[in-house]
């Protein structure tokens, strides 16, 4: 069976859940081979082995993470050229898609983005136009490069004993064109990552102000959830832009999505419509969000949300 390369998403050695999802998917399509870029592999090794990485290419050189995406694409292109893998899987994050894009140009291959599943014959399933259409697509030129949306595949433990291979790549001047001089961490809380969280609680226009977002955060924390916000809330400056869920923000696909004070315009729906279970609290019974919900309460969020938080805390 062909090797399926998986670029491992990690932050300073901490493996993201999506990497485990991709390893699970890769082992369905062929033999998962993880690609680790940057320092920190030793600490992540056991986790990758646990989720079925039969092979790991380790490129530990810190220089590879000192420039915007190009070095990662250069490394992957080299591995594709040397090993002829069946496909390359990356996470469909903003950066993952950019790496996929550069790799596609370097290898003359087709790229599929925002994929939610891949089946036999490397047919990829996409959910497009805000979840309104399910399309199947495949790559017909080169090595398929597939960017898979986080939370689309359930990660399964499948212990393996990885064969490790240290690799390096010579960077061209063009690869080193955009130098990262500083990584600025603005919001690092205890909450899970928005795109990876099993539960997301989002607040919108109805929340009414930055201070009131403590209500959303309180509810999120009672559930161990990530916090999101609609564009109305981020545009108003009530919550940071990087937490925006929607067409011009992040696309999330959690097990449970709770929309609080969000009317559900297409702008927002496009970013959360594929959530498995949807709950909404809104005072307007005509709000379009209610067309999507599994359970909705028409009411004042300032009454309902704190009561819900208290009730969840009580039942724990």
């Amino acid at each position: 069976m062909a090797e399926i390369l998986v670029l491992v998403d990690h932050v300073d050695g901490e493996v993201k859940k999506v990497a485990l999802e991709l390893l699970t998917l890769a082992n369905r399509l062929g033999e998962a081979a993880a690609v680790w870029v940057g320092p920190g592999y030793e600490g992540a090794k056991d986790k990758l082995a646990e989720y079925g990485a039969g092979k790991v290419y380790v490129a530990a050189d810190e220089e590879l993470t000192s420039y915007v995406v190009a070095p990662k694409a250069a490394l992957l292109a080299q591995l594709v050229g040397a090993g002829s893998p069946g496909a390359v899987l990356v996470s469909a994050t903003a950066e993952g898609k950019e790496i996929a894009g550069r790799l596609a140009v370097k290898t003359g291959s087709g790229v599929l983005t925002d994929v939610v599943d891949v089946t036999d014959g490397l047919v990829a399933e996409h959910s497009i136009f805000g979840g309104g259409i399910i399309a199947h697509a495949k790559v017909r030129t080169g090595t398929p490069i597939i960017a898979v949306r986080p939370n689309s595949i359930a990660p399964e433990a499948a212990p393996a004993t990885p064969v490790e291979e240290q690799v390096s790549v010579a960077l061209s001047d063009a690869d080193k064109g955009a130098r990262i001089v500083e990584k600025v961490v603005q919001e690092k809380g205890e909450r899970p990552d928005l795109t990876e969280a099993a539960i997301v609680v989002s607040g919108g226009r109805g929340v009414g102000g930055a201070d009131n977002f403590t209500i959303i955060e309180g509810l999120a924390d009672s559930l161990g959830a990530a916090v999101g916000a609609s564009r109305a809330a981020t545009d108003a400056g009530w919550y940071p832009h990087s937490f925006q869920v929607g067409q011009t923000g992040k696309t999330v696909s959690p097990q449970l999505y709770i929309a609080v004070g969000i009317s559900g315009a297409i702008q927002h729906r496009a970013g959360m419509q594929t959530s498995k279970t949807i709950v909404a609290i809104n005072k307007d019974p005509e709000a379009p969000i209610f067309e999507l919900v599994d359970y909705g309460i028409v009411g004042d969020l300032f009454q309902v949300a704190p009561q819900l938080t208290a009730e969840i805390t009580k039942r724990k």
Partner: protein, 259 residues
């Protein structure tokens, strides 16, 4: 400074968006066209850089006749001129081919700075800036929420999940922008009138130096196998709060084993 802003006309997200049954490409006739929202931020950033540094802003678009609407709006906002590549041979091109075609056109226009929105609301692939930077061999300054230029030195803040990266490079470069970067201006009446007199160069594939064998549906590196409308979500239960709404949601969540 020679600033080229890439603009894409997309179906209005408020109108129904469909794929065509014969070739699985976007049915552009079925929906109203609008300028891709993030591209307005790209135009605005281009105009601000021009206002600070001097130079010229050229709008570049590829697409059917209808895309002239987006060109007109871009010119009305303040862009100086436009290049419109219009050719049936481009229809059905995927991202890889589109980046090739744009590279060819940029070879004609030249550039110090190429600016584009970080993704379009229709395809949402978010790969174009990266592909272009790769093809052009220039720095990729993508997902920028702040751009500073000093001579040929350019610094951007690249938006990340944890905050942002400070990135430095030298011009020429490709910059993609996120919506936090600025607040796009509305075209003024004066701008709308002036736009009518601004030059719009129309090119076909041959005129743009694009190899017809490398673009279009038949040569695409990807293909849509099939598609269908997603099954509608089953109507859920909607209850009016009578003082126990929070408790009721908790009951629902418990029934689904979330609590």
């Amino acid at each position: 400074m020679n600033i080229v802003v890439l603009v894409k006309q997309v179906p209005d997200t408020e109108s129904p968006r469909k794929l065509k049954s014969d070739d699985s490409t976007l049915d552009r006739a079925a929906a109203d066209g609008v300028i891709n929202e993030l591209d307005e931020y790209a135009i605005e950033e281009g105009l601000r850089i021009k206002e600070a540094q001097g130079g010229e802003v050229t709008v570049l678009t590829m697409g059917p006749d209808k895309a002239t609407e987006s060109i007109r709006k871009s010119l009305a906002m303040g862009a100086d001129k436009a290049v419109h590549v219009i050719d049936d041979g481009l229809a059905g091109s995927d991202a890889l081919q589109t980046s090739y075609a744009i590279q060819q056109v940029l070879g004609r226009t030249g550039f110090d700075l190429v600016i584009l929105g970080s993704e379009s609301t229709d395809a949402r692939t978010g790969v174009l800036a990266a592909m272009l930077a790769e093809r052009l061999g220039v720095p990729q300054l993508s997902l920028a929420n702040k751009v500073e230029i000093d001579g040929t030195a350019i610094k951007v803040q690249r938006q990340t999940d944890y905050g942002f990266d400070r990135v430095e490079a030298s011009l020429p470069a490709v910059v993609s922008v996120v919506e936090k970067i600025n607040e796009p201006r509305y075209p003024s009446f004066k701008g709308i009138m002036a736009a009518k007199k601004k030059p719009v160069e129309t090119l076909d594939i041959a005129g743009a130096g694009i190899d017809p064998g490398q673009v279009g549906l038949a040569a695409a590196a990807t293909e849509v196998v099939d598609f269908a409308e997603a099954p509608p979500r089953a109507q859920g239960q909607i209850v009016t709060d009578e003082g126990d709404g929070g408790t009721k949601i908790a009951d629902f969540l418990a029934s689904k084993k979330f609590v």
